[in-house]
């Protein structure tokens, strides 16, 4: 019997537990290190990185919604070279798995970033083809099987690192997109990115977000995310990293039963920055009570 009942192997990489702060909600980890050691986390999915520095969208970039929030950050980031030079060396000292989340507006931008990361010591790539906040890119690829397949193929060729494709929920059939990624050599898929939404300030009759629309996340999207994880896990033979509204250890267990081997936590950090460590504690208790290794529950929901 393994004494660490939360340990899991995903794409050949050992995670001490399956809990990972979601891309874009945790920066490069520095800020949260003031709350708890980053080594307590299974891994970190860093802020989405593009080929060049991006300023992002004009504010306001956030709006609260019932049990959730919209964001329209627009991939503000310092660019891939700065990430590799200034952030990665620091992250690599933290004794946790580092997942580089990347995004591009063209096929060649994805290729270039993936190529640059291949010679670094990031542990794996998460390829965002689903950012709803950037006009010229990302999501345009994620909404069709051809687009998703094309990006997967290009990134696959550019790197030997494990490649995880991050899927958009703003599609008719997410399972078919996951299958297209698998067919082109993806090692894993992660889902869901945010759902496109909108809020309007009724007093000034203008959208709250300067970008007019933004991505919905938080507890409001949880049932949608569980359903999509379940559909995708049943459709592909590669592992699934689940996210979308997870805010407690019970949510994490539910999403794992639906088929997720790893869990990312985003918006819940804003409500409570301690969420990841609380989830990890809760999962340990759960495994003790159920006398099980956590990885053994993945995908074990028995549908009616």
């Amino acid at each position: 019997m393994n004494e660490n009942r939360l340990e899991t192997v995903f794409c050949g990489i050992k995670f001490k537990n399956p809990i990972i702060p979601a891309s874009g909600t945790f920066g490069y980890g520095r800020e949260y290190e003031e709350f708890y050691p980053l080594s307590s986390l299974g891994g970190i999915s860093v802020k989405g990185t593009t080929g060049k520095r991006r300023n992002g969208n004009l504010p306001p970039r956030i709006a609260e919604t019932p049990s959730g929030m919209l964001n329209s950050v627009g991939l503000q980031n310092p660019g891939i070279d700065s990430f590799i030079e200034k952030e990665l060396p620091y992250l690599k000292t933290k004794n946790t798995v580092i997942i580089a989340n990347i995004a591009g507006s063209t096929v060649s931008e994805y290729e270039e970033i993936a190529g640059k990361l291949d010679s670094t010591d990031v542990d794996m790539l998460e390829v965002n083809i689903s950012c709803p906040n950037v006009k010229a890119g990302g999501a345009a690829f994620g909404v069709s099987c051809e687009g998703a397949g094309t990006i997967t193929k290009i990134v696959r060729r550019a790197t030997k690192k494990p490649v995880m494709m991050k899927l958009s929920p703003n599609v008719t059939d997410i399972a078919s997109i996951a299958k297209a990624c698998e067919a082109e050599g993806a090692d894993a898929v992660s889902l869901i990115n945010t759902l496109l939404g909108m809020r309007i300030d009724i007093n000034i009759r203008r959208p709250i977000l300067h970008n007019n629309v933004g991505g919905l996340s938080g507890p409001a999207v949880f049932p949608v995310a569980v359903r999509m994880v379940w559909q995708v896990a049943n459709a592909v033979n590669i592992p699934v990293c689940g996210m979308g509204g997870v805010s407690s250890w019970e949510d994490a267990v539910e999403m794992m039963l639906a088929g997720a081997s790893l869990i990312q936590v985003g918006a819940a950090l804003f409500t409570d920055p301690m969420t990841p460590v609380k989830i990890i504690d809760g999962l340990e208790d759960y495994c003790r009570r159920q006398n099980t290794d956590l990885k053994d529950i993945v995908g074990t929901v028995k549908p009616w």
Binding site: R30, E34, F35, P59, P60, I62, T271
Partner: protein
């Protein structure tokens, strides 16, 4: 920088004006490290996002913080129902940059409306070397005047409609004061048009000035990048983040064209 998160007891509540509430919170671990100009981020049951509120006063001896806020929506409305004895969930102290505290310097401190609370701790620091200018909509909205007086600062009060203090704007009084003396620094918090006006005057007179900004927030610590504010530093456009790079900024960076 160190952040604390926890449940802290409320020990005092005040209601200094209609729809304005103050809370004194016992949180020695936060009070020990909090700095002038920083803020706390408050969780309210039933809301996904925390509500940022400036620190109005820090009492290190008693281990308390005082915050003063106005009801602006559902979240602050729920906060106004908290009472002494209740616990409040805070992440604090937040803000990578507070007001510059320059020993022995002369300061003009300006607060507009609900921008007044964060200026009290600053007025306490400068004491007799400070001139405080407070502006409000009308007499009913006036808060903190006794507190400002007890710091030893020279104080001025104005309202838009003249129902309390002088009739007019804080920038009118600032302009007048600058004819008789030149401070080392001007610090301000309030609505954007007011801050813009203050920045323009400070620039014209060549006086250093700092402004405290508000922006909608997610994490409050610098991890999510939603609280962006366009700044210009050394000619370069930078989307800074109010929670981590501020909330206090050099006014020249925020209003480069004034």
């Amino acid at each position: 920088m160190k952040y604390c998160q926890g449940l802290y007891p409320i020990i005092r509540k005040e209601n200094p004006a209609a729809e304005v509430y103050g809370l004194v919170i016992l949180c020695p671990e936060i009070a020990a490290i909090a700095k002038c100009g920083q803020f706390v981020n408050i969780r309210i049951d039933g809301f996904t996002l925390r509500r940022p509120v400036s620190i109005c006063e820090i009492d290190r001896q008693k281990g308390t913080l005082r915050i003063v806020f106005q009801i602006r929506g559902k979240g602050t409305d729920a906060m106004s129902l908290l009472n002494p004895g209740d616990l409040i969930d805070m992440v604090a102290p937040l803000g990578g940059r507070g007001f510059t505290l320059q020993e022995g310097a002369n300061a003009i401190i300006i607060g507009g409306g609900i921008g007044n609370p964060p200026m009290l701790e600053l007025a306490k620091f400068y004491g007799g070397n400070a001139t405080v200018i407070s502006g409000f909509r009308n007499a009913a909205a006036v808060i903190l005047q006794e507190d400002f007086k007890s710091t030893g600062a020279k104080t001025f009060l104005c309202t838009n409609d003249g129902t309390a203090g002088e009739k007019g704007f804080v920038t009118d009084i600032l302009g007048r004061e600058l004819q008789t003396h030149t401070p080392d620094i001007i610090c301000a918090c309030g609505p954007m048009p007011m801050l813009k006006g203050v920045a323009a005057i400070a620039k014209e007179k060549g006086i250093r000035s700092e402004v405290s900004l508000e922006e909608r927030m997610g994490c409050g610590v610098g991890g999510c990048l939603v609280c962006a504010c366009r700044t210009v530093k050394d000619g370069e456009e930078i989307f800074a983040h109010v929670c981590k790079d501020g909330p206090v900024f050099d006014s020249k960076e925020v209003f480069p064209n004034e």
